[in-house]
Every structure is written in structure tokens, then in C-alpha cells.
Symmetry: C2
Subunit: 264 residues, 2 copies
DNA sequence: GCGTCGCGTTTGTCAGGACAAACGCTTGAC
DNA sequence: GTCAAGCGTTTGTCCTGACAAACGCGACGC
């Protein structure tokens, strides 16, 4: 490989080890931000293997010149991919694609969406919807006064006709109207989004315990069978608590998978 | 509140509702980046309640002028806090502190560090360290050939004299020297970091199952007792797999807590 | 042979400016 | 009274330019 200079420095972005440069371009007439267009194209290239793991991205200045962009814009695009864990920057070396299967971090997802994405055809049976006075635990989680009225929803989530999870949710009053037909047609999070609530973050606790007799009956397990438990408090973007969920999953049918990144 | 203009627009950063501005300053002689200094001060103010939830941060231009910084630098500082979920930006409104208890996202942490941080005084007993041929499952996780030699470590982790978890780790050969005295004095991740390995990300799966007879004996539970299980594949920053762990936790003694953020 | 120095490369940080888009409030018309 | 338009505010995006710090490699001296 004859190169003019001395050291073997980073070559431009090439497709899978060849010297053919990756086709990258941005559309300035599009309302999509330029940095976002570039980030999407790079991410697609990584996912499709056109940018091999370990491949160097070529320096930011050249990349910017090639695309007719400024360096900050290119940096912003790369930064979003670094934040996702797809790439690593190294001063004096360059930016390279991280080796191997790095999946996306777990999103704030609903079980319904998870199952649907896995092609499992989720179904929901509403067991109860009612309004009741908040217990101490529920009041603390929702940030309301103990004894004040809150909504309770109990649902059984199944996939392929087999029960997967028992879902108990408490909600502060007046946020969403909980109609049984809506709850059985889709997930709770979709209903909230449809009601104009912007979900922001959630605090989860995942543990395990033995099934009670009632849980066993609902989930078609024996009493004492191991269950995976999840408690979640969800906040919207103004910091309000919008939901407190206490869910139990059949251990044989469900596990939480997620990706952790070290914050640099 | 007499203001010159018409609408009640964002006031400057004030301490807890008063009109006393927050003391913010940067040290240009410090090697710490300016944006980082500012981010730290703002984060500390939020944590100490000097910046109340919902408080507006005042517009970026004024803030930059007050600190003698440029707007991009101020934006970079704020952006890190937005990424952490501490603040929310809204165009035409301003940046405000998110309400209430938003904790940090779960870091790629070791059980040892978790317990130590919780003041639990962890102790480790090494049950086995050996080298063995990789099974199909282990080989797939570590990315080595089936049957090639890999290290295996089995440890019992206790807190306050009571067993908490049974830890089985497989490691590719030649990465770290696994001496029993080191393993009992600290956690595996610390040993890796000390060996010059930069941890980058991990893929985890959390589930539940019933304890086997052997697990029951080790953890002082009965066979069939519910256990929390965690499998983890850890990568360093070059994408190498550095560890594959299969851990079981006593359900009564441990749960995973973490914070999820919605990616905008 | 081997370690050290220097140099070029590349990313990290920071400045200052400009225009566009979203938001909330006020004003005005009906 | 109610709804629409207008306007100022604030963040979002993008540009150009500059210097500093870390890294890897070759060249040099021993």
C-alpha cells in the first residue's frame, strides 16, 4: 500500500476494508438536521456491515470537507453515535467503530411494545379498573396524600394464548381515561402518549419472589413458583409521576435484557 | 413584580425562588474544561436543592455573558445535564430543572462496588479457580473456539456474614491473573481495570428461576427457592469480550435498581 | 539492540456570529 | 367571549476560526 507520507495514518471512510469510499451525502433542502442525516447514514452503515468493526472513520476535517459541512456539525453527528456506544474516539488515532454486537440501550419501553416487536402478538385481559384510596406505599410512589383517590388497573398480559405477566398499575386521577376497550387494544404507555403526556424517565427495581396462590392461578403456575418482579415509577417531562406499576412475570417466559454503557 | 417588558419571561438563575443569583464561576487556569466546571456546579446546585425543581435556568446568552463564556460552551455544559436527565430544554421557554427524584442511570457496576457503596461490607469466598475447555455456550459468549481453554472463577459473595450471591465468571485466557487473594480482597472489575482494561459496555439479561440443590446449600436457601439470575457479557473499548458472568442472587437480599431515560 | 526525543496527526476545547423554528403571551378582530 | 394573528423570547442548528492535548511513529543517540 503505497502512501505518500511516512506513517500509516487513518484512511478515509471505506466500505468493508476496500478503498472504495462510503457513499455519504446530506440533503440541505430537507428539514431533518444535517448532523442527524449524517448520524443516520453512519449508523445504517455500521448496522449493515458496510463499516466494519474497528474501521477508522477518517479525520473529521476531511469528512466535513467531503460533505460540504463544518467540523462542528460532523462532530455532533459522530457524538450521537459515540453516546449510543457504536463508536469510540481516540485522540491522535481517530474514531473507530466498536467491535461486535453492541445493541441499543434499553428504552423506556412497555411490555406490550416489547412483545409486539418480538412478533409475539400480545393480548390483554383487563381484570379490574377501579378507583380506591391510596395506601401508604402507593401514595409515596405517586407523590399524593395517603388515602386520596387513585386509579388502579389490573391486567393479564398473554402471548400466543399463554399468560406472561400480571400487571398492576396505579395512576394519579385525571391524567388518562382508562376505558377497558382501549386498555385491551393497546398498551398503557401508548394511551398516555395519546393523551399528550411526554414520558421522560422511570425508576425501576427488578427482583424475584415466589408466586402467591392467586398469582399462580392467574399465570397458570403453581404457588411458590419463581416469579420475576418489576416495580416502576414513571415520570413525565415536567417531573410529575404518571404511573406506579407493580408487575410480576412468569420466570420461564420473560427476562429483562439491556445494554449498559460506561459513562466516560 | 415590576418588569419592563410585557410577559413574565425567564428570570436569571436564582437560588430557591429568591432573586439572589446562584454563585457560578469558572477557573480558566484549571485544566478541567470550562463546560465541565459549569456542569458540575449546576449539578451540585440541583442536588443540594439550591436550584429548585422546575426552576428556569435563564437564557443561555445571558448566562454565557455573566460567566465570560461563549454560548456553545454554556450549551455543552447544559447538554451534559440534559443527557443525564436532570434538566429539560424547551424552545421559547428555557431550560428547567426536572422535578423530583431523578437518580443517575445505572452504571456498569460490580456487585462488590454496589454493596460497598451501600455500606454493606462485602466479603468474597473463592470457591474455585480453574482452567477448562469452553462449552458451546461459553465459547459463543466469549467469542472463542469451542473447547479452547478458558478461565473459570466461582465465588460466593456475602454481606454482614450472610450469603448474597453466587458468582460464576468465565474469562478469556491471558487477560488478568486470577489470584485467590486478589479476588477475595476486591471485585473482579477492579482487577480488570488495574490490569489496564478499559471497560466499555455490557449486555445483561435478568431473570428468575428456582434454586438447585447445590445453589440452595451455598446460599443458605432451600432447593426450589426463587432466585434472581443475571447473565452478563462485558466488552472493553476495543470491542473484545473480557468476561462472561452467570450469577444468581438470593431474591430476598438483592434487587436491581435502575433509571431509564427516554431518548428524545 | 533499545530507549528517548521530536514531529505530524487527530480529537478536545473554546470563541463569536448568524439565522431558523417553536413557544407563550398580548393584541386585535369578530 | 372567543379565536386568530403578531411579536418577542429562547433554544436549535450551522458556520468559521483557533489553539491545546494526546497518541503513534520514525529518527536519533547511546
Amino acid at each position: 500500500m503505497a502512501m505518500s507520507g511516512q506513517a500509516n495514518y487513518a484512511r478515509p471512510v471505506t466500505a468493508h476494508g476496500t478503498d472504495r469510499p462510503l457513499p455519504l451525502s446530506v440533503d440541505r433542502t430537507s428539514p431533518v438536521p444535517l448532523y442527524f442525516q449524517l448520524a443516520q447514514q453512519l449508523e445504517a452503515a455500521v448496522e449493515q456491515g458496510r463499516l466494519a468493526p474497528g474501521a477508522l472513520l477518517g479525520n473529521e476535517i476531511d469528512l466535513a470537507a467531503r460533505l460540504g459541512l463544518s467540523r462542528p456539525t460532523v462532530r455532533q453527528a459522530i457524538q450521537t453515535l459515540v453516546d449510543k456506544g457504536l463508536m469510540v474516539r481516540r485522540r491522535g488515532v481517530g474514531t473507530q467503530v466498536v467491535h461486535s454486537q453492541v445493541r441499543r440501550p434499553l428504552e423506556l419501553s412497555s411490555l406490550y411494545d416489547d412483545l409486539e416487536a418480538a412478533g409475539q402478538r400480545p393480548a390483554t385481559t383487563v381484570l379490574r379498573t377501579m378507583t380506591e384510596p391510596a395506601t401508604a406505599e402507593v401514595a409515596a410512589a405517586l407523590g399524593v396524600a395517603e388515602g386520596s383517590e387513585v386509579h388502579l388497573v389490573e391486567r393479564l398480559r398473554s402471548a400466543h394464548g399463554e399468560p406472561v405477566a400480571l400487571l398492576r398499575n396505579h395512576l394519579p386521577p385525571g391524567l388518562v381515561s382508562l376505558r377497558t376497550e382501549d386498555l385491551e387494544a393497546t398498551g398503557l404507555y401508548r394511551l398516555m402518549r395519546a393523551a399528550g403526556i411526554t414520558l421522560h424517565s422511570a425508576r425501576q427495581s427488578v427482583g424475584a419472589r415466589a408466586a402467591t396462590a392467586g398469582e399462580g392461578r392467574a399465570l397458570e403456575e403453581e404457588a411458590g413458583a419463581p416469579l420475576l418482579t418489576m416495580e416502576r415509577v414513571t415520570y413525565d417531562d415536567t417531573g410529575r409521576v404518571v404511573e406506579f406499576g407493580s408487575h410480576v412475570y412468569r420466570a420461564a417466559r420473560y427476562a429483562f435484557e439491556f445494554q449498559l454503557l460506561v459513562r466516560p
